[in-house]
């Protein structure tokens, strides 16, 4: 087993039994590796099992077969070393914003004093620009603010691995842009390893070091890992002028529009556990993008 990868996923499969039908194989023999400090986005159509993969990494779901390994140890259940930002923010509605974050921080550091917990939580609320909303209840906040609280809560845990399931999916484009840049700023400071699921191609390019592309389900798999060669720090307004931007973008869109379907179910171009696309595709500009993202087999 390779140990230089911080996160290692090997031959992961998930099947759901269906009454009177053949069982549904959501994804089959998915393998990939993530380096420490990497920001990974995972793109794919609905139903390809992205969320299930994330839930397996979070320890909230068990795979049917295969293994997910975090820092050399198999992920057996949920825990504090894996912070999760849920799709629908999942704040506890009876607690104020600050108490929501403090609740998580208190669980992470049971030995801390209340003052310490408060200070730490407040710091992360400041980071997402919500210091003024500390004493409000979640229902008093807008969707974007709620999501930011969820992000502050996850970051405040300072877990080595941060998992995000379409955290900005429910937000309008303007809010999304602002939060994305805030996210990058915080990540720049904490250098956590991030695995994030998204539908948004531009978001993936802005945020990630590498983008995992998943084929359509059932029997979905990670077909490619596209390396984003645009240097950091990235700004939303600036990266679109980078020469690689549209090459990458067109490649991603092409994958989502046509190839994710073509590749679905076929095992050609399979990514195996031995040769994971972590040390793969540097994205050279001005070349046919289809050949770029290296398929490993």
């Amino acid at each position: 087993m390779k140990t230089d990868k911080f996160v290692l996923v090997e031959n992961l499969s998930k099947c759901f039994p269906q009454p009177k039908k053949q069982e549904l194989v959501v994804f089959d023999k998915v393998s990939f590796g993530i380096q420490k400090g990497e920001f990974i986005c995972c793109i794919g159509h609905s139903g390809c099992g992205k969320s299930t993969i994330m839930n397996v990494l979070a320890g909230l779901e068990k795979p049917t077969s295969g293994a997910a390994i975090l820092d050399g140890r198999e992920i057996a259940g949920p825990g504090l070393e894996k912070a999760v930002v849920f799709q629908n923010h999942s704040l506890l509605p009876w607690k104020t914003v600050l108490k929501n974050v403090m609740f998580a921080v208190g669980a992470r550091h049971p030995d801390w004093s209340r003052g310490q917990i408060r200070e730490h939580s407040q710091k992360y609320l400041d980071l997402v620009g919500l210091a003024h909303a500390s004493d409000q209840k979640p229902h008093q906040l807008s969707g974007g603010m709620k999501q930011r609280v969820g992000i502050a809560r996850a970051f405040a845990l300072e877990s080595p691995l941060l998992l995000m399931d379409e955290p900005f999916g429910a937000l309008d484009a303007l809010t999304r842009g602002t939060i994305q840049e805030e996210l990058l700023k915080i990540w720049g400071q904490t250098k956590q390893t991030v695995f994030m699921i998204t539908h948004d191609v531009d978001e993936a390019i802005l945020l990630s070091d590498r983008i995992f592309l998943m084929t359509n389900g059932p029997r979905a798999r990670v077909a490619e890992a596209v390396e984003v060669s645009i240097p950091r720090p990235r700004k939303r307004a600036e990266i679109v002028h980078h020469p690689d931007y549209y090459t990458i973008r067109n490649h991603l869109v092409d994958f989502l529009v046509s190839r994710s379907k073509e590749l679905s179910g076929s095992r050609a171009g399979e990514v195996t556990g031995e040769d994971l696309p972590s040390d793969t595709p540097v994205f050279p500009p001005n070349v046919d993008p289809v050949k770029l993202a290296r398929k490993v087999s």
Partner: protein, 333 residues
């Protein structure tokens, strides 16, 4: 706190309705010149008629026919039912004549609002007097009823909430226990009364048991439902934070389920208050139910009406107290 125009308007309309109600009541009951006066029975006379087994409805009927106690007593001693007397041609066939009661207080058959208010005022002014088993102040009677409800309901809370928690968290338990709940729930709480009296051999404890058994089901089912429907996401948060079993129950499941539990409490306290009045009519002795029945036996319609009104007000107050708790745990999702 500024009373809005809406509140003011609804309050005005409510007062109007109340005024109309009182007016109609007054119009229907105000003594008219043609009204016959009826004799009032003293407590001793009531006791004598009780001994002869004359039904309350019959007494009232004969009194309204204009008979006095002497004639009532004779009738009662004959041991005929009212039907038999009617068949024989009515009281006139037995030679009874309507008495002119010059000395008896003239009053209408049903008390006027004014009579009820003055009697009510007297009752409320001195609520805690105690002149023996059949003559206690309304406050004292109320205290007896409230004590029974508090004990029975409190016991139900202690049993139903932990049990509901277990049933809500474990499919095994809920599926195993639900058949019992389904069968026990529709049983009228009063149906348990004879069995309780037989087993416990104590009227007080039996009535507490009856309150317990009627308030336990809504509490149990609501707690179970509230716990079982806690959002999966909130549980997932708890799991990712590695909360222990008790932290999970106390910090996530309990606050999430609390509003539903309080809804169960509201239903339970309402049913308890309905049932205690009926139960006290059965067991007798003390309490609001017994008070109402006792006033009926003495044909004190006015204090009976006051008691009915008090029962309504107290029921509202009980609901309001639980609503207070409900407000404290409510959250907007």
């Amino acid at each position: 706190m500024k009373p809005s125009l809406e509140t003011l308007r609804s309050a005005l309309l409510a007062s109007l309705f109340f005024g109309i109600f009182i007016f109609i009541w007054y119009a229907l009951t105000v003594p008219r010149s043609g009204d016959r006066a009826i004799f009032e029975l003293s407590e001793e006379e009531v006791a004598q008629l009780d001994e002869l087994g004359m039904a309350m409805e019959d007494r009232l009927y004969y009194l309204e026919s204009g008979l006095d106690f002497e004639q009532l007593w004779q009738l009662a001693e004959m041991q005929f039912t009212r039907e038999e007397i009617e068949m024989a041609g009515g009281i006139e066939a037995f030679g009874f004549q309507r008495q002119e009661n010059g000395e008896a207080e003239v009053r209408s058959h049903f008390p006027t609002p004014g009579q009820v208010f003055s009697v009510g005022w007297e009752m409320i002014r001195d609520p805690f007097y105690d002149n023996g088993p059949n003559d206690k102040g309304i406050g004292l009677q109320l205290a007896y009823s409230l004590r029974r409800v508090a004990l029975g309901f409190g016991l139900a809370v202690l049993v139903a909430i932990p049990l509901g928690f277990i049933m809500g968290m474990s499919r095994l338990f809920s599926e195993a226990l639900m058949p019992f709940v389904q069968i026990l729930k529709p049983i009228s709480p009063l149906a348990w009364m004879p069995l309780a009296l037989y087993t416990i051999k104590d009227a007080e404890q039996s009535s507490i048991f009856v309150i317990f058994i009627c308030s336990v089901w809504p509490l149990l089912i609501n707690t179970m439902f509230g716990v079982a429907t806690v959002r999966k996401d909130w549980l997932a948060i708890g799991r990712t934070l590695e909360l222990g079993r008790f932290q999970m129950a106390g910090q996530i499941i309990l606050p999430a389920a609390a509003p539903t539990v309080f809804t169960g409490m509201k239903i339970s306290i309402g049913i308890s208050w309905l049932v205690i009045v009926a139960a006290e009519m059965l067991i007798g002795g003390t309490g609001m139910g017994y008070f109402v029945w006792n006033e009926w036996n003495g044909l004190n319609i006015d204090s009976m009406i006051v008691a009915i009104f008090v029962i309504g007000v107290v029921g509202y107050v009980l609901d309001w107290i639980i609503g207070f708790g409900q407000k404290a745990v409510r959250y907007v999702d």
